[in-house]
Amino acid sequence: MAMLEVTDIRTFYGNIEALKGVSLTVEEGEIVTLIGSNGAGKSTTLRSISGLNSPRSGSIRFLGREVARMAPQEIVSLGVSQSPEGRHCFPRMSVRENLDLGAYLRSSDKAGIAEDMDRVFDLFPRLKERERQKAGTMSGGEQQMLAIGRALMARPRLLLLDEPSMGIAPILVDRIYETIAEINRQGMTILLVEQNANYALGVSKRAYVLETGQVALSDQSAALRENPDVQKAYLGT
């Protein structure tokens, strides 16, 4: 049984149908990526899974449980946490306070939180250097690291990453993708949404291509990189 099974979900913003029946699966331990152009429904898919925009119909099963109608906090407590698009760090809180809030649902577990914070600082030494700095004063790349670290603080089984390369200096994007691969090697299952298909197909095992709210293609990432249509539309080669 797949860790995450999304079946034919339809999600709306008001009357606009953003997802017109999306289905996908994520197996435990893999990195799966969703690529597609602006407005294809990538972020909406993640927001549907994390409960920020519940789908109007269809099913989302996580570890065998139906989560499509659950509130975000219930989904987080089941083990799905998200680094939202645009990072959404708490700008006036320090790095440490941001990470603390990542562990909001297990606030009483002080020892576990300290342990996880050390792990995040190991993954992103830059955050350790800036532990007391306000998140709003850091660069985009550093904020992205913080957003990923904060999502890890929830001790998820499945990590949702939304556009980790958006608006970030290329050198930092390399660093962040190395770390994403490292987090996966340590056993984390990751569902990644990315416009930068080069990076996304490089790090992931399988990928889905979304177009106007539907899955247009799905295959092994290596195969998609060789696909002429994908190359033309998303890889710029």
Binding site: Y13, L52, P72, V76, G86, C89, F90, P91, L101, A154
Partner: protein, 388 residues
């Protein structure tokens, strides 16, 4: 001008160490306790001080909603009204057909009406206002910023209109109108608390110490809340709703609790003010009251507990003492044909503008807001609405 403004901001920076601020707080508390002994027991200054402390409670309550949780509430007067009506309904001869006496002294035993002990009425006021807070919270859950302000403003007006026209609303039968309209419910029972003599208008000190006790209790509650898990959730929702939801902060519960707590505190202050002013009158519950309390917490520093205390005391004294008593005749002495109190709200507005120009984060700013306003740390605009 800009340079002077900047130096004014820096010159005012006040960041004492925890030990110093604790000592300072204790000294201030001690002064607040002995202060009425320095005054004539029926002096106007003591009268204004009692009212100022009641406003401090109001400000602390509104600060939970607006300052902590970032939900702009323009209808806070509703909680003043509901708290005050708790006194009018349960501590007067208004419902003369009823004959209920609970834990009250002999001097009201023979009076008709509902007479409960004030301590019970305060609890009732807090509970009713908490429920009303939840009621106003529910329709605003999916809204943000300005839209919350409009809905809460309407809520305050609805309660006011109920207060004005309630004399012809009979919910529980003919002898039981909802309010007494503009005539007001007056008098209300003298306060009669355990271990102390009944309160009178001839000695204001017991009133002062009672409201000071309420201030201390409310301060304790809001400080504990600010530092609690719920307090962190409020700040998270205020800073970034999308991020808060992604972290598992339950938005509905967190926001509703802000309205509930803020409402309950407002109810306590409302009940006290009604008992002190000895009337529950529909004209007390005007929209300008909501703005007045909001101005206090903005002046003091949104989200900053000590700022709110200071802002409430300052504005209350300006409004109730400086303008009507001390400076009222100044225009007349200058040969002008008006009293300064005619310009009350104009003066207020002017003061707020001055503060916003010179010190936009308030007199005693909260740490985070200060950062936002002076160091240019902004919030990313949310890309989507979050499901409430």
């Amino acid at each position: 001008m800009a340079a002077r403004a900047a130096s004014f901001r820096r010159g005012f920076a006040f960041n004492p160490s925890p030990a110093v601020s604790r000592a300072l707080a204790l000294a201030l508390a001690a002064f607040a306790i002995v202060y009425p002994l320095l005054l004539d027991p029926i002096s106007g200054l003591l009268d204004d001080s009692v009212v100022a402390l009641a406003y401090v409670i109001m400000g602390l309550g509104l600060n939970v909603v607006v300052g902590f949780a970032g939900l702009l509430d323009l209808g806070y007067v509703a909680f003043f009204a509901i708290g005050a009506f708790s006194v009018g309904w349960f501590m007067s001869t208004f419902y003369a057909d009823a004959n209920i006496h609970v834990l009250v002294s002999s001097n009201v035993h023979n009076l008709p009406g509902i007479h409960l002990n004030f301590l019970l009425v305060i609890v009732i006021a807090a509970v009713l206002c908490a429920l009303a807070g939840m009621l106003i919270g529910l329709p605003t859950l999916r809204l943000r910023g300005d839209y919350i302000a409009i809905v809460t403003l309407a809520f305050g007006e609805i309660i006011r209109v109920f207060a004005v026209n309630g004399d012809s609303v009979h919910v529980f039968g003919n002898g039981y109108p909802l309010t007494n309209g503009r005539q007001g419910i007056t008098p209300v029972d003298q306060l009669d608390l355990p271990f102390v003599k009944p309160f009178t208008q001839l000695d204001l000190r017991p009133w002062y110490w009672l409201v000071l006790t309420l201030v201390f209790i409310v301060l304790f509650v809001v400080i504990r809340l600010r530092d609690s898990r719920l307090g962190r959730a409020w700040v998270a929702v205020r800073e970034d709703e999308v991020a808060a939801a992604s972290m598992g902060v339950p938005l509905v519960k967190t926001k509703l609790l802000a309205y509930t707590v803020g409402g309950a505190i407002g109810g306590v202050a409302g009940a006290f003010l009604a008992a002190y002013l000895n009337t529950v009158n529909a004209d007390q519950f005007a929209f300008s009251f909501s703005i007045f309390v909001l101005a206090m917490i903005i002046l003091g520093g949104l989200g900053s507990i000590w700022g709110v205390v200071l802002g409430a005391i300052v504005l209350s004294f300006i409004n109730n003492r400086l303008i009507p008593d001390v400076l009222n005749s100044v225009p007349g002495k200058l040969g002008l044909d008006f009293n300064l109190s005619d310009l009350g709200f104009g003066i207020f507005g002017f003061l707020l503008v001055i503060v916003m120009v010179l010190r936009p984060e308030g007199l005693l700013p909260e740490r985070r807001r200060k950062l936002e306003l002076t160091e240019g740390v902004g919030t990313d605009d949310a890309l989507y609405e979050v499901r409430a």
